[in-house]
Point group: D2
Chain length 272, copies 4
């Protein structure tokens, strides 16, 4: 009889060591987001089966930087050394069965619990070092208030190589963020087989999934001018999605809870 506890490895007697315990998982974040356009064929090349580039988007993508705070059922909010984390990812506008979606091909975090929760959803997280300028309440040249003219920077690095650098200068408040952020995010949930006799068969977990966000709140949205660079780095393919053109930059707050996941397609089954 198996009495070990945990949503993720390691499964343990008391459920304190697992990287993740079962949801609900609660999140709140500051976000710096850059709208840009990438090469449409590079976007098509990274999409999984059944997901296609959105012709109306002409290569539109969003690069996100996030300063996350996480809590669940065990007072994680008061243990920031383990549960506060930073993240960067790219979203590509795409279509699935006619629905406008965002697909997440690359994502970086600086926290192992975030990797475990992310992989369980389909976010293909790797380890990175992420920073963004914060907006602080004590006034002065270092405060970066939410006000016209304020400047923010952000970056993501992995293993000591800079993968992306962004800058945003705020211009105006956005009254209706739904005009900008309105597509659901789909991902590929994947876990491999290592046993040699089975490696030619479909992976045990290979699904197209959709992120489900309860109680989504998007607040304090500001827009402005933006810069974004994604240099070529050996051992990474992110630069294939480098900007051909950069659109607006956004700075916003976002919160939601996760309790569920939608499986859109199981690639491991026949016809995947």
């Amino acid at each position: 009889m198996d009495t070990l506890k945990g949503f993720s490895v390691p499964l343990t007697p008391l459920g304190r060591s697992p990287l993740a315990m079962p949801p609900p998982w609660h999140y709140s974040s500051d976000c710096l987001v850059i709208e840009y356009w990438a090469d449409a064929s590079a976007i098509a090349a990274v999409l999984p089966p059944g997901v296609t580039a959105d012709g109306n988007s002409a290569g539109r993508a969003f690069f996100w930087f996030l300063d996350w705070q996480f809590t669940a059922s065990n007072d994680e909010i008061t243990d920031p050394a383990r549960y506060q984390y930073r993240e960067a990812f790219v979203l590509l506008e795409a279509l699935f069965e006619g629905q406008a979606v965002n697909y997440c091909p690359y994502i970086f975090v600086d926290n192992d619990a975030a990797i475990a929760r992310g992989w369980s959803q389909g976010f293909p997280k790797k380890y990175g070092s992420i920073y963004q300028t914060r907006s602080l309440s004590a006034p002065g040249p270092a405060a970066a208030p939410l006000a016209s003219g304020s400047r923010f920077g952000a970056s993501v690095s992995a293993h000591g190589e800079r993968l992306a650098t962004a800058r945003v200068q705020l211009r105006a408040n956005v009254e209706n963020p739904a005009t900008v952020f309105n597509r659901p995010t789909v991902m590929r949930r994947y876990f491999p087989q290592l046993a040699a006799p089975l490696r030619q068969r479909p992976a045990p977990v290979d699904e197209l999934t959709m992120s489900l966000t309860d109680n989504l709140a998007i607040v304090d949205v500001w827009a402005g001018s933006a810069e974004l660079s994604i240099p070529e780095v050996r051992g990474e393919e992110l630069h294939a999605l480098a900007p051909l053109r950069v659109g607006q930059g956004y700075r916003l707050g976002m919160a939601y809870s996760v309790t569920d996941l939608r499986v859109l397609r199981n690639y491991s089954k026949a016809g995947g």
Copy 2:
């Protein structure tokens, strides 16, 4: 038609970004190992179904610290910023279907590629910071040669908390390491389901596995006296396996390749 490449996430057009590409994976390491005895009931409590404490072992366990070098088919050996890593784990002497095995309940690494490869085998890796004294060739008080009287230290921390600290003083060369290191390692390979309607069903991946090591080489084995402490840390259960008694310390080199994995039992199928 799916042409994306990768053994692990992220699957990509060129196979450069995935945390892992398919094996063979080649490893070489310096190792500091402490033999010790833990509470037998604490060992029993962390073992998965079908694995039982080895009554003859009376709680015997080994705490390993490793300075790994990894390479595969893409010249990883010349990219140490991405592929060199450090690891610490505990092995518990146990039985599976009458066979003497070591079970690995906890393991820490400082590298994301090592997490991806590890999870695919069943090693329940979390992120940690690991150090061990090295034996360097240039002589002097800082060299720690492989010689009687040399002293080595090692430690593993996670999220800024020290999980284990060890010290070893070498006494003599061990001619036949097979007398010490002779049990295969078994692990629990596990990947969860997040979709709410499916969470009551068995996890999609839940297996008892055995590590397979090709071309295993264990060299330059020295033994000596040892100290080991595993303090209690909030958010971890490792200290349940703290030493009641410490045996010998070992310092050795180990190399092998991984191309396969043995699945001993599939817990997700009926009767698991």
Copy 3:
């Protein structure tokens, strides 16, 4: 003729590589502060010549955790990977020539530019890993709003060992923070001599200094209940200042600029 630029090492032709360029330096921070009482003789033991324990304070001390944002004259605010940093320090209530001051014996930061600026002022900074719960604008269980009942945590670690852990639960806004934070901070500015013939002579830099803060702003001050632990760690003496009793916890914003430093006493001169 020396045309190299820089306030700190390395001095360079263009003044881009130096860890610090000349002030003004601008700072803004979120702060979590714990009032506590330490052993009065342990406080006395760490004070420099001419600084004495404040008998009226009975061992009162403050443990600070700070999430800093820094900028100067080169757009540092948009380069958070280099210039955003976290800090933790202890302040001890003391007297200097009859004036009530705070003395800073220990301080940890996670950034090398902050070490360079800090040493130049007299802050004896070492490298550490510091975290504090943030108050985010997007509402939900992970937001920690500035409101009665909100809970915050903070910690500082060095080299994988936890040096201090704190928790605060907010109760009420503090209308007049000057009742709490009203002593100037004094430090010991010290830079050694290594040349053997000169090591018996006074160090080339050994001064008692006072931090000067222009345009000081302290905002959004909340007080509440607090916990603080400072465990004993090998290789550190911080635990000699562990709490005998814990007072209130505070959460606040603080900003100021640095352009100058007051030298209170030069210990290197006769009679130091």
Copy 4:
């Protein structure tokens, strides 16, 4: 009466917390070294007063990567989490009063104690992340033995930006390393003044110094072919010393002790 102990800050009652205690300091290291030629005018531009480019060198420089082990009088060798560290620096061939020397304009380490000891000597250390391929004793594709054909890589990054990447393939053992490594290293020891009324006067510490290494041992020297790249990075000037041409690569072991420092010139005195 001042009874506080320490070679560096923080000065403390017991001398356990200081980043450095007085020498002797003992070092041993694995080293990967790349000989190259930089722009001679860029070299001249970074040299301090009295040090001139060596016309016979035509811009010759060496880029070093080091995996250090350190110990002193307090058993530091068994505390690798605090005292083992990695370093990278560039040495420029130069002349001082007719003597052939190497000047060190840039150096990066991943350890705060190494920063404190380095600054006291004149090494202008900043924080970086450094890696080099190791030569391990357990044989296999991941071992990188000291043998003809073995390949090594190395890199240094700061704040998530790659500053230099090197690769070396060994060809042959070097019998007499003195033909390669035979110049003393000179540095600029500098500590600034922050007090505004004094900032126009010479810095309190501004000296040209020479590193003194007791019991220097250079062992197991191999030479081979080499690659080196030093890309331009915002906020750094290292790339001004990028290679115009790359010479040989070396892999060696080096050990020495430090007990003293030679002051060649005091720039703070008249005529500096």
